[in-house]
Every structure is written in structure tokens, then in C-alpha cells.
């Protein structure tokens, strides 16, 4: 099977609410990993993106 993680994409609404409608142990790890890559800040965040801290100091 294709063991590669899901490629980066702009997830749609249905996809981002998917884990609400699936028991925790049935949430695919690949989906969890895709969400982690999307929301967890790391070195790949492009410059110009406001960091996760206080928006007041960022606007």
C-alpha cells in the first residue's frame, strides 16, 4: 500500500471535521499527521506568517 503520508494540501471543511465523527481509535494516523503538519508550527512556516503567540503584538 502507499505508506507515504498524505501530501500537504489545503484541507476542506469536511476533512477538518472528520475526526469529530470517527471514534478516536479509528482516526487514521495519516489524517492526524496531515493535521499536525498543518497546525504545528515548525521551520517550514513561511516568513511573513504571524506566529502563534499574541496577535496584539503581531498586527
Amino acid at each position: 500500500m502507499d505508506h507515504a503520508p498524505a501530501r500537504s494540501s489545503r484541507p476542506d471543511l469536511d476533512n477538518l471535521t472528520r475526526s469529530l465523527h470517527v471514534p478516536l481509535d479509528r482516526i487514521p494516523v495519516e489524517h492526524a499527521e496531515a493535521v499536525r503538519r498543518r497546525v504545528v508550527t515548525n521551520g517550514s512556516v513561511p516568513s511573513g506568517t504571524v506566529p502563534v503567540a499574541a496577535f496584539n503584538s503581531s498586527i
Binding site: 502507499d2 505508506h3 498524505a6 501530501r7 499527521e33 493535521v35 499536525r36 496577535f55 498586527i59
Partner: protein, 776 residues
């Protein structure tokens, strides 16, 4: 982490590779007639050793590890493949797994996988796979007739019972963590309903449906006059899957949806995968072996060539060029972003090479139509059909400045969904499997208790801290045990769990903190109705949780305030509330907490009085307020954190009128942050800066977007007050309206927004045009 790969390539980019397939055993105990390794054009397996020697495993691990180090990769994915990897036996497999874990984990997180036919899988091997955290995909083509059409032993005997026994082993609770899913190669002569039902019966976390490998030189079987038999066959399964509520993940269908992200077979994202053959040769993706003898070769090997050198190979590089790497027919196709030209190997034709559409192109086109058409979109409540997408509905509603209760519900749902996904991601890093099992159990029997805990604003910051390899150093204890205990307490489900301790404290999100000096690094927590018993270090204490009684010694319950939206937590105990980039206040003294609670409740009423639409948005999502540490130089401070939806931070202030403005302002940031989790409104990689009236220094586009959205709401507050106030309200409204207009115009002129961002800011502009303040 910054990439340290050195000077960029000729085209200005570096090409990190994050996925590696290791052919640890090149022979197989089945003789499937559709196998691309043995039965198709490439026959290089004949000259390779049966098993990958230990020195080759080590060399491959070192190459992968150094590549991860040089590129700062947070994770690499390694798939053990063959042939049949289980032919290594338990001892041989252990040696390989130990080498990979030891060598690669020094530099990055290792996601280990295996693809197997399952025939040799037994309990000992399952235990080994669980021990080394290997997730296993099993090749299985469905019901007995379908499976045995191709998947047979050399003597022609059936493999069906062997594979089903392997799948049953992986389904056991003690092995379930290693069950990745099923790979099913389709054959249009099989009954799609029976295949679907056979797959569903194995409860796989995920199913990959694979088109049989074929090329323009050796086209796929197309029995009968139907021009698209594969699309029709898959369309039948798609309908069953949708009708069943998509009860298992089928990657092909998910990948083909708009924005589905793609797989190796679909989509335009770079294919960053390399193969290490049993003799140490670096090769391109395995499926190329169906094209011609030697098609996957690169001429490189793990002993003499680093990954970066292999990534420069033209056959690898072209796979990273997106649409530019496709043929002219594909580049002009309206659905090229969906299929991505199909699997690379399926494009092969002698003469033109891979510069062709997929040999399955007609089927892919029809299948995309099928995925789009079923289920049909539901008509809107008004009964009139609308072409507006869900994202546009959400953005248009928020562009009014506030957002309806239904939009807030959507945002809250997506935030909770994200937290649930992060919880699954964190499971791999948890040292307490019992905590995960308890959460899974409670999620089934007491879902509201789990929902209440996971919706707490500071659960996601905790999970993010745990998951982010670039997080600043500091204690980031395993969150799962405390989350499970909090959910068990809320559900009234007795349990016993070991829970990590941080600074003599166990924090139970939404409930409070146990602070017991001498607890040590871990404590055994026993949950009983109305109480918890804690044993750790030199401490053994029973803590009563009766909310009507005085708190037991060492128990600091989270305080709350009744507000129109429910109960607002005064969060001054959760350690992960410290996510605002400025100091937070430690636990408030009782009189101070009461005073802040009164101010917040009164401020909430002020918001209802001034801007009821914003009050409804607050009611729909604001659940906690974090007191910031006082700063005499800046007494009026407030903040929002992207990962802490549902909370804002404020410096305690006695005036409800002022506090109301702070709440409205910050809640705008929280809403927009939740939207930005879902959709890019600013084009990624924008380095430009925009001059704004509210700061002297030019700001990044996302900061300007946040600024105008907050200032729009503040304008609306002062606009409302101006209707009844003869003082400065009108001037304040005009002041903020000017800022907002200038910011919006600068954003629209910056060309830094995505189409969705353009639409959103355009709608904001429209809202501003309808906002009349004083003489402006």
C-alpha cells in the same frame, strides 16, 4: 528547523526526501501473477542478494539519518518492503528494526512501516512489530475468489485463509497499533460489492485500492466494449462507501476529492520517495519496474552516494516539478490538480517515454466525475440551489464583522476536530498505552466528557508543545494520562493510571490542579466517584472533589463565572496557558479572582448591550479568560493565541466598558485564527510588508489582516456607543474606522492574498462601506 543542505540547486530549490522504501528481502513466498517485481518488464531482482546484508542496512540508515540532519526533517518514513520482508524471520527483522531505530532516531523521528503479504505473520512477529512501533500494510485483494485470482502460492494454492489469519492477528487490541491497513489491487472481473464487503469485514484503518500496473505498451485489461471499466468498477465501491458513511478510510477516493492532497498515484505534490534495493542500490519508485527493464535504476548506491546526490537524478527531480513535469495534454487538462497525471509508471510508452497521460486517463476522468457527483450536493435550506461553497459561506458570514452562531459552531467544531487529530498524533509519543485505551473507551461510552476536556483551550497548546520538534526546551510531559483522568472524572468512570508530574503538580484540564510537594516525577492516580487518590514520591493523599465543599488541601479547582454563554473559566492554573508571548499571572487570590469575575460578567453584559451580534459570537465560543501579569507601564493589555481557541488573555482591569472592548477585539483574533487553520487567506511565502496606520513599522500581510478584522469590530462597538453617547465615542469610532479602511485598502493593493483572502477582504470592504460614523 532550518535546512542545512547548503547552496540551493540550479533551480534555486533543495529537494529533501522524507520517504524511503527498503527492500530488506528480495524474494517472496507467494507467486502472484500481477506482481511488478517478478512478473513485469524489470527483472533486476534476479541479480540481487535474497536479503539485505546488515552492512547495507546500516549504510542505508546512516544515509537517511544524515539526510534528515542536514535538512532538519522533523520525521522520515521508512517502509520495509520486498519481495516479502517477513522472510527475514523474527531475529533478522529485529536486527533491521533495531539498526534503523538506533541510527535514524538520533537525528529525527522515525515513522516505521512495512508492506507484507501476511502469510508468515504470527504472534511473535506481531509483538516485535508493536515493540518497534511498526505499522503494517497487508496485501489482500478481497473475497476468496478475488484474492485467489492472483495471490497464490507457487503451487497454485490459495493464500486467502493465511492472509485473513494475519489480519485477525493485527486486529487484536494488543496488536492493533501496528495495523496500518490493506492494499487491494483491483481486477474488474471481480465483483466490486463482494470485494468491498470483504475489505470492510477486516476493519482496516485504511484501504488503498490500486489500479493494476499497466503502460501504453502493455495496456490494462478492458473486457467488453465499456471504455472505462475501471472507473465503473471503482464507482460502484465509491457509492457503497459513501452510503455506509465512509466508515473506513479509502485513500484513493479521499485523494481524488478537491484538495484531497494526493498520493503516489494522484495529485501534483512532489514525490519525495527513494528505494534502497537489497544490494544497496538507490532506485526510483518501485512501480517503474512495470515500464521496462532497469527503469527504476539510478546508478547510485548507499555506500558511495548521499541522498542529496540521488535526489538530483533526472528521474527523481522531474517528479518534483508538479504540473511542469507533466505532458502537454495533462498540463491543459482542467482536472490535472486532481489526478496529477496518474501514477508515473502508467504513463510509459516506448518512444515518448513518460511524457504521456496515464494509460488509465479515461478511467481517471470518469472516476473524478463520479467522486464529484455522489453524493449530490444538498440544496440549501431556502430550497434554492447555490453555487457558494462552504468556505465562502463561512468567510462571507465572518466578513460582516462578527459571524453567526452557526459559523461559530463550525469554527468550534473544526478546532475540536484538530485537537482530536493532534491527540492521535501524540499517541505515538505517549509512554502510557493505558491512557490512550481509556480515552478511546470514554470516547465511546461518555463522548461528552471527552469533548469537554478536549475543547478546553489549553489542551491543544499542550499537544502542540509535545509534538513540535522545534518547541523551546522545557518540560512537556505526556498529556494523555492527565486528559484521560480528567475525562474519567467528568464521566464518573473509576480508573487507575500513572500520571506524569510537573513541578509537584498534576493539571487536570477544565477541573483544576493537584499541587502536592514531594510527588516526584510520576504518581498513581485513582479515580473514584467524587474523589481522586494520589500516590507518588512521599505523598499519599485522597482529594475530595465536591464543588460545594471547601477544596481539599492541595486541590486548586478551576474557578468560573456565569456568563450568558455558559460558564467562563478563570484559567490561572493550567501551565499551558502560558502561550501568549507575555507573562501570565499566577493563581489569583480569592478577592482578586472574584473581582475579575465580576468585571468579566459585567463586560459580557456590556457587549450584549452595545453589539448583540458580537455578543452572540462570544456566547458561541469564548470559554476561558487568562489573567496576564500586571505591568504598570502597560495596564491595558490583552492577547490571543492561535493554538488556544476559546480563550483570551487580559490584564485585570476594573472597568467593564473597557474590558468589553478588549473581549470583542481579542475574540476577533480567535475567530480569524480558527479560519486560518482551515484556509490560507494570505499566499504562503509572502515576504512583503505593508504600512499600516496603527504601527510605525511595516507589517506582514497576515498581521494586517488580523489588525483590520479586530479594528472593524472595535469600530462597531464605538459606532453603537456613539448613538447614545455625546462624548468621545463618535471620535473613537471614526478613528478605528479610518484605520480599518486604510488597512483593508492596503491589503487589497498588496496582491498578497489568496482568492479566498481576496473574497474575504473584499467583503470586509463592503461591510465598511455600509458603516457610517460621524462625518466619515
Amino acid at each position: 528547523m532550518a535546512c542545512r543542505c547548503g547552496p540551493p540547486n540550479v533551480d534555486g530549490s533543495c529537494r529533501p526526501i522524507s520517504q524511503f522504501v527498503l527492500k530488506v528481502h528480495s524474494r517472496c513466498d507467494l507467486s502472484c501473477d500481477h506482481c511488478y517485481v517478478y512478473q513485469h518488464a524489470d527483472q533486476t531482482w534476479r541479480g540481487r542478494p535474497a536479503r539485505m546484508p546488515p552492512a547495507t542496512v546500516r549504510a542505508a540508515a546512516l544515509r537517511i539519518g544524515e539526510h534528515a540532519r542536514d535538512h532538519g526533517l522533523p520525521v522520515v518514513h521508512v517502509v520495509l518492503h520486498g519481495g516479502e520482508p517477513l522472510l527475514l524471520g523474527a531475529a533478522g527483522l529485529r536486527e533491521v528494526l533495531a539498526e534503523l531505530r538506533t541510527t535514524i532516531t538520533e537525528w529525527t523521528r522515525l515513522d516505521l512501516r512495512m508492506q507484507t503479504n501476511g502469510v508468515l505473520l504470527d504472534e511473535e512477529l506481531c509483538r516485535l512489530l508493536v515493540e518497534y512501533d511498526v505499522r503494517v500494510g497487508v496485501s489482500f485483494d478481497g473475497d476468496r475468489a478475488a484474492n485467489d485470482r492472483h495471490r497464490v502460492f507457487a503451487h497454485g494454492g490459495s493464500s486467502h485463509d493465511h492472509v485473513r489469519r494475519a489480519l485477525a492477528l493485527l486486529r487484536r487490541p494488543e496488536h492493533r497499533a501496528s495495523y496500518a491497513g490493506i492494499l487491494c489491487t483491483i481486477d474488474v472481473r471481480n465483483d466490486p460489492d463482494r470485494v468491498y464487503e470483504a475489505l470492510l469485514a477486516e476493519s482496516p484503518p485504511r484501504v488503498d485500492l490500486l489500479l493494476p500496473h499497466a503502460t501504453w505498451d502493455d495496456p490494462p485489461r478492458r473486457p467488453g466494449p465499456d471504455p472505462t471499466p475501471y472507473a465503473d468498477w471503482l464507482g460502484r465501491i465509491h457509492r457503497r462507501w459513501v452510503d455506509d458513511g465512509r466508515s473506513m478510510s479509502i485513500r484513493m477516493f479521499e485523494a481524488l476529492r478537491p484538495g484531497g492532497g494526493g498520493t503516489e498515484a494522484f495529485g501534483l505534490a512532489p514525490a519525495d520517495v527513494l528505494v534502497v534495493e537489497a544490494d544497496g542500490s538507490w532506485e526510483q519508485v518501485d512501480s517503474l519496474k512495470t515500464a521496462y527493464h532497469g527503469a527504476a535504476g539510478t546508478g547510485f548506491d548507499v555506500f558511495d552516494h548521499p541522498v542529496d546526490e540521488v535526489a538530483e537524478h533526472p528521474g527523481v527531480a522531474v517528479r518534483q516539478d508538479g504540473v511542469d513535469g507533466l505532458c502537454a495534454t495533462c498540463r491543459s487538462c482542467p482536472v490535472v490538480d486532481r489526478c496529477g497525471g496518474g501514477l508515473y509508471a502508467h504513463r510509459w510508452r516506448t518512444g515518448s517515454g513518460f511524457d504521456n497521460p496515464s494509460v488509465y486517463c479515461p478511467d481517471l476522468l470518469r472516476l473524478i466525475d463520479t467522486v464529484d457527483a455522489y453524493p449530490p450536493p444538498a440544496p440549501p435550506a431556502s430550497g434554492e440551489w447555490s453555487a457558494t461553497s462552504p468556505v465562502d459561506v463561512v468567510l462571507d458570514d465572518l466578513a460582516t464583522g462578527h459571524g453567526s452562531a452557526s459559523t461559530l459552531a463550525v469554527l468550534a467544531a473544526t478546532q475540536l476536530s484538530i485537537t482530536r487529530a493532534l491527540l492521535v498524533a501524540a499517541r505515538d509519543r505517549s509512554a502510557t498505552p493505558a491512557a490512550w485505551e481509556l480515552l478511546v473507551h470514554l470516547d465511546r461510552v461518555a463522548p461528552e466528557a471527552v469533548r469537554a476536556v478536549l475543547a478546553h483551550p489549553f489542551v491543544r497548546p499542550w499537544l502542540v508543545h509535545r509534538l513540535d520538534p522545534s518547541a523551546p526546551p522545557g518540560p512537556a510531559v505526556d498529556p494523555l494520562p492527565a486528559l484521560a483522568v480528567a475525562a474519567a472524572l467528568r464521566a464518573g468512570v473509576p480508573t487507575v493510571l500513572p500520571v506524569p508530574v510537573r513541578a509537584d503538580t498534576i493539571t487536570l484540564p477544565t477541573l483544576g490542579s493537584l499541587v502536592l510537594p514531594g510527588l516526584g516525577r510520576s504518581a498513581e492516580v485513582t479515580v473514584r466517584p467524587g474523589e481522586v487518590q494520589v500516590r507518588g514520591g512521599s505523598v499519599a493523599r485522597t482529594v475530595l472533589l465536591d464543588p460545594l465543599a471547601s477544596p481539599s488541601t492541595g486541590w486548586f479547582p478551576t474557578r468560573d463565572v456565569p456568563v450568558p454563554g455558559g460558564r467562563l473559566l478563570l484559567e490561572d492554573g493550567d501551565p499551558y496557558r502560558d502561550c501568549y508571548g507575555q507573562p501570565v499571572e499566577s493563581r489569583l487570590e480569592v478577592p482578586v479572582a472574584r473581582a475579575l469575575g465580576r468585571t468579566l460578567a459585567a463586560a459580557w453584559q456590556v457587549v450584549h448591550r452595545d453589539v448583540p451580534a458580537h455578543a452572540a459570537a462570544l456566547d458561541g465560543g469564548l470559554r476561558a479568560v487568562v489573567p496576564l501579569a500586571p505591568d504598570p507601564a502597560r495596564p491595558l493589555r490583552s492577547a490571543t493565541a492561535r493554538h488556544a481557541f476559546g480563550a483570551v488573555a487580559v490584564a485585570p482591569h476594573a472597568d467593564p466598558e473597557t474590558m468589553a472592548v478588549l473581549l470583542v477585539h481579542e475574540w476577533q483574533h480567535a475567530k480569524l485564527g480558527a479560519v486560518l487553520d482551515l484556509y490560507d487567506l494570505v499566499e504562503p511565502g509572502q515576504d512583503g510588508r505593508i504600512r499600516v496606520p496603527w504601527r510605525p513599522d511595516p507589517r506582514p500581510p497576515e498581521g494586517v489582516l488580523q489588525g483590520v478584522y479586530a479594528h472593524l469590530a472595535v469600530t462597531q462597538v464605538w459606532q453603537s456607543r456613539a448613538a447614545h453617547d455625546q462624548g468621545d465615542a463618535s471620535a473613537h469610532a471614526a478613528h478605528f474606522l479610518g484605520w480599518t479602511r486604510d488597512g483593508v485598502d492596503a491589503l487589497l493593493a498588496s496582491r498578497s492574498l489568496t482568492p479566498a483572502g481576496e473574497r474575504f477582504v473584499g467583503q470586509l470592504r463592503h461591510t465598511l462601506e455600509e458603516t457610517r460614523v460621524g462625518s466619515r
